[in-house]
Amino acid sequence: MVPAAIEPTRYSMLYAQILLNGLVLGGLYACIAVGFSLVWGVLNVINILHGSFVVLGSYIAYFAYVHLGIHPFLSVILAGGALFALGYVVQAGLINRVVGAPVLTTLVLTFGLDLILNNGMIVAFTADYRTVQLAHPLGSTVVGGLVLPLDRLVAMLLACVLTVILYFVLVRSSIGRAIVAVRMDREAAALMGVNVKRIYAITFGLGALMAGAAGSLLSLIFPISPLNGSEFLGIAFIVCVLGGLGSISGAIVGGLALGAIQSFGALLIGPQHGLTIAFVLLIILLIFKPTGIMGRRGYE
């Protein structure tokens, strides 16, 4: 696919640009996936709602920008907070009732909830694509021959920052320790005085928060529509497995890897095969290292 006309010196430039494209995309992927991974790892719930949560975050950012003029970078707080509340309520009110059930039960439940939420969004916002049209976009700049799309780049950096913050919350805070404890042994955690149901709700809320934050960052980049929910969900799935389930570093590595794979796949085999390559690599990875790149055994 690489045009023969390119002289050799430009190859390295091209590859660097492709790599950069991939990493920028990958950072956003990581942010989409990290909340999904957290919920999956801790609650053992495959949250089908996650994609719609991301979309809802985008809508919040969109309306905040259109009506209040709040820049989507700032709406991260707004969307994150709103989604945290929604996630908390959904978990505390609904999912907690069946949280000990086999994974298929909770999967079917969140599938049902997603039908409701997604349909609700279509009714409320229509399926038409909307976009945040910034009054003052950052545009792009060229550094050393590389084109840097600034809005994307900043969004990606923010996504990484958020992810890192989440990591430290989990590792350093006592709530974070409680989340990890509940993941390993909910009964033992209860004996330590942990209110397991509340921790579940908080965890689900955090997952939704990350989805909402990702959504508001993505509102700058992708056209917004409820129909995107399933795409985001698919990405979250792949990233999680690539990186390893329930681990935050895994989500980052998985996201970046997926971005790069897709980017180079498009270059080497053609754009329509970017996803295929990612999928095939995923299967191969699963066969040889079922726990993902960063995964540890016994984590599920």
Partner: protein
């Protein structure tokens, strides 16, 4: 009490008289029901008996649909094309199963989900064989509208009955026993002499064969297939919902679940134009809360679980 498989079989056979009472639309629903029953029962083998949360149904279905369509396009008679499609799907399952069935739980779920995605991409890209994104038209059948509707109805129903017999046989054979052991504790199973890999692959293949044929039948039935439709992730998810509705790991459950799901889907779809998927979602959520073990689980609840369990499934 438990729903005896023989009653379900009788009910299935009774459905065969549908053409006497219904118009083409009813027949179409009947065909849909039979197709759902095939999918749900097949999933139940790997998902219900063996406890492997498979999302590969769409892969088998789509593969069968395309195999059947391409073979028919090349002049193979319709029934042979259906048979061949089942075999193709079965072979695919055997190959893939050997590779991914060592994965546990979620990881298996993902790998099986990815199978459909990969096939979707391959089918879309391989334009010369499959027509790619343009879809594929099947040869037109020279037959009256009514005759066609009946033909496809009976063929699909026959397939559902075959699937039922297969599932029934499995439940009372060594295979079923081995699969239940695997579901409950795979390590311990291999320690009591169960060749787990073998039985899992058998289960995976069994869950593919009939779905492949159903895919081919479906293709002949609707004349036109396209990749996003036959590889739709919903094709993988719906059978799971049906089985959960009816009762996982039982012989009768999937059939009951398929019927219940079809009725729900149809009623909701007819009565709620733009919010039908939300209403369906509500129903599903309600079912999870009020019938967590499916219809059969509900029926069975009064009796002591253990005794019934052994009666229906003891090897």
């Amino acid at each position: 009490m438990t729903v005896r498989p023989i009653y379900v079989l009788a009910a299935l056979l009774l459905v065969a008289f549908l053409p006497l009472v219904g118009d083409n639309y009813v027949l179409r629903l009947g065909t849909m029901f039979a197709m759902y029953a095939v999918l749900a029962q097949s999933w139940n083998i790997i998902g219900g008996y063996a406890g492997y949360p498979s999302f590969a149904t769409a892969a088998f279905f789509g593969l069968g649909a395309y195999a059947g369509a391409i073979l028919q396009g090349n002049g193979l008679p319709m029934p042979l094309a259906w048979l061949a499609a089942g075999i193709v799907a079965g072979l695919f399952a055997a190959l893939m199963g050997a590779a991914i069935l060592h994965l546990k739980g979620h990881y298996f779920a993902i790998a099986s989900l990815v199978l459909a995605e990969v096939l979707l991409e391959v089918t879309t890209s391989w334009t010369s064989l499959t027509g790619g994104g343009m879809g594929l038209n099947l040869p037109v059948i020279r037959m009256s509208v009514e005759a066609q509707a009946q033909l496809f109805f009976w063929a699909m129903l026959g397939l559902a009955v075959l699937t039922f017999l297969m599932s029934w046989y499995v439940s009372s054979s060594r295979i079923g026993f081995a699969l239940r052991c695997i579901r409950q504790n795979e390590d311990a199973s291999s320690m009591v002499g169960v060749n787990t890999t073998f039985y899992k692959v058998v289960a995976f293949v069994l869950s593919a064969l009939f779905v492949g044929s159903a895919g081919a039948l479906y293709a002949s039935w609707v004349f036109y297939i396209e990749p996003p439709d036959v590889y739709s992730v919903l094709t993988s998810v719906k059978p799971i919902v049906m089985v959960m509705l009816g009762g996982a790991g039982t012989v009768a459950g999937p059939v009951i679940g398929a019927a219940a799901f079809l009725v729900m889907e149809e009623v909701v779809w007819r009565n709620f134009l733009s919010i039908h998927s939300a209403v369906l979602g509500l129903l599903i959520v309600a079912l999870i809360f009020f019938l967590p073990n499916g219809v059969l689980g509900f029926i069975r609840k009064r009796k002591r679980t253990g005794a019934d369990h052994s009666k229906e499934t003891a090897a």
